[in-house]
Amino acid sequence: MVESAKARGRIPNARRQFLKAGLTAAGGTLAVASGVKAAQPDPKITEIQDWNRYLGDGVDASPYGSPSQFEADIVRRNVPWLTADATSSVNFTPLYALDGTITPSGLCFERHHGGVAVINPADHRLMIHGLVDRPLVFTMDDLKRFPRENRVYFLECAANSGMEWRGAQLNGCQFTHGMIHNVEYTGIPLRFILEEAGVKADAKWLLAEGADAAAMTRSIPIEKVMDDCLIAFKMNGEALRPEQGYPVRLVVPGWEGNMWIKWLRRLELGDKPWAQREETSKYTDLLANGVARRHTWVMDVKSVVTNPSPQAPLTHSKGRTVATGLAWSGHGRIAKVDVSIDGGRNWSEARLEGGTSKGVYRFYHDFDWDGAELFLQSRAIDEAGNVQPTKDQLRAERGENSIYHNNGIQTWHVRQDGVTENVEVS
């Protein structure tokens, strides 16, 4: 496999590194770092290193800091054959390289329908109109006078794992599960904006619209709007990144990412939904019988092991190891995550570390690897009692053309040499 991959001659660094890593583990005898056979003193210890002798950069060498040069491979990546053009496309969060629960702002996956709008906040306006007592216009300065909150939420694209309906296809959790990110938002409860305008009694729906070249629109029921939606202008403490809707975006906790309108400029109250393109032709779930579900807003309970995974193989021989991953549910908190290393025959409850309602949870399964092949799976259960289903259960019920809302259990096959592959098992 390695040879054929090399023959293509187009293997970028990340790929090459994990192939190499796999080989090293397979060789076993090359395991210098393991320390077991370290008969010779390690020159990295016995010799004085440059960084230990000479001065490094001073302050301000990088006024807005960047990750270490040794992390240059950890980037969002896309799947070019998925879409016609990068201006209406998606890239994926490198989940395999992250830990904890918060996604760094620059690694949050991107999904645009008309490219990234570039808007000077001084030129941005937010309008609210329709079934309200007082149609209003706000500037960004106006918005910052409303009371605001800090909340951590996941944003998952409804099409996350959508390429896996017909079977294992993409080799890496970045691609199978990377249309998700989890950040802390600073924003205004949307109900404050509605109350400022005065909502009329017959207003049952809100249309939210973006200022981008797609003028993205979605209809949202008023109950959700008044419950927990935010108008956010900060993520992880800093201004929203342009690709995440700078200067202001909608936050619709637990619901599909497409509804989280970026570059938010307009809120219209009405008595019926608008049946916009992204809630009829797209983001509806076609079932095997030819009927499609619409208004499938909530993101169901889901989890995935992020390490080991195809882009992050095991690089050591048998012994103590850690399997870790993420779990989340649009219904609220995660109650429990189970991990199986034998393809769902036996399960162990994983340790949860950090997490919020409608945000991601980090789980760890610490175990002694006996060096045999593994079929790693994770299964999440949320506080409402929803259990993450198998992919086969979903297919039996929905067929293979739903595209959206695939929350089935993922299997990684870890070989004895540590190389890991996306598979499906009996």
């Binding site: 187009r10 970028p12 790929r15 799947v79 070019p80 054959w81 998925l82 016609a84 053009d85 201006t87 309008m127 609210i128 109109h129 209003l136 216009v137 959508g162 390429m163 017909r166 294992a168 296809q169 993409l170 080799n171 400022e196 305008a197 005065g198 070249a213 797609a214 003028a215 307009r266 009405g270 019926k272 049946a275 916009q276 009829t280 032709s281 076609l286 095997a288 019988n289 030819g290 499609a292 619409r294 807003w297 169901d300 393809g343 025959r345 036996n346 399960w347 259960i381 929803n386 259990v387 289903p389 198998t390 259960q393 979903l394 019920e397 293979e400 809302h405 096959h413 598979v423 009996s426």
Partner: protein
Amino acid sequence: MSKFLRPLIAVGFLGGLVLVAQPASAQDAANGEKIFKRCSACHAVGPGAKNKSGPTLNGVVERKAAAVEGFRYSKAMTEAGKNGLAWTEEHLSEFLAAPRKKVKGTKMAFAGLKKDKEIADIIAYLRQFADDGSAAKPEQANADGAIQSNPGMAEAEPEANASEAEMAEETKKQQQTGAGEDVAAAPKAEIADGAGESVDASAGDEEAAGQDVAMAPPPPSGGPMNIGRPALEDEIAAWDIDVRPDGKGLPEGSGTVAEGEGIYDERCASCHGAFGEGEGRWPVLAGGQGTLTDERPEKTIGSYWPYLSTVYDYVHRAMPFGDARSLTDDETYAVTAYLLYLNDLVKDDFELNSKNFSGIDLPNHDGFKPDDRQSEPQNAENAQAELCMKDCKEGPAEITMRARVLDVTPDNADSDEQDELGEGAID
């Protein structure tokens, strides 16, 4: 588009009369820039421009064909380049008029520009960009002796959705900078005579609106926190263009299948195909009826979309891709009518208008149901019993499918080997 061009061309003609034989100039280039928006879904130009589904066009004028490194040209284009085809004004003009006639087998799906003036303007625009996307040297850029050395790109309007008022403003600016004092000093009424009423009227509106915003001190919102200001009717009208299935929001107007065909061929077909079949991975718009239960359903306006209002709304707000909101209400009616025709839902003499719109049901109108995921049987199955923790399945796990077989993961896959699975899932 044609509606926008008309005043511009008329004014250009007037300027020509006053100045006598104005050669290719910044004005042509500026006009070319507007026309280029039709190309921008597939081509980028300027500093930092990268290949899209078409190659970057920096330095394209006078360059050899198929010369952009890293772009995968069609065999036909590569051959043409090898055989010495270069994009001189003459060859480029022929190509832009009928791409597939000039280079048979080109990947470029664009049908071609019909007007010589548009072709000349586009070339004047592209001529401004050197190989690296910077401004070409003036003598090179305006080789044929333009009056001003300031290329139009320096003043480029960043907005994609040039309103008619902006067009009028742009026209005035060009006259002032490009055409000299004579025209700039001419009373507005004279320009209006030459350019048609719309220019004068919309320019006037713009000024009036500008004054409102600048002069009126914002009254308080009147809400509980007294934040924000009242939205003006004109402001709401400018943004509130959404159309609902019950017809709410639909503007007065009409358009025929025949009118729609002309607009579609020029503005839509390069991505969506001459018959709505979709070029490459661009969305398929027509056909597919009866395929929703197939292994590979084809979801189109005719086979899947429940409401015609969605077509009108979406075309009006977001199409043509890269030149959003450039179609007038009537043009949108016409394109919508033509899309109905491509889906065999109306005859070729059909006119769609605000009266008959709500009477048209799309075939899959009843093909949707509310979200009932919670009632799916696996939820009950999984929740009922204690979740199994030990010996839940018999026998060891056997691999039934592996991703490596398909080998479509990026970094690992040549784009020739892409699999059909999931293709078009995102658009």
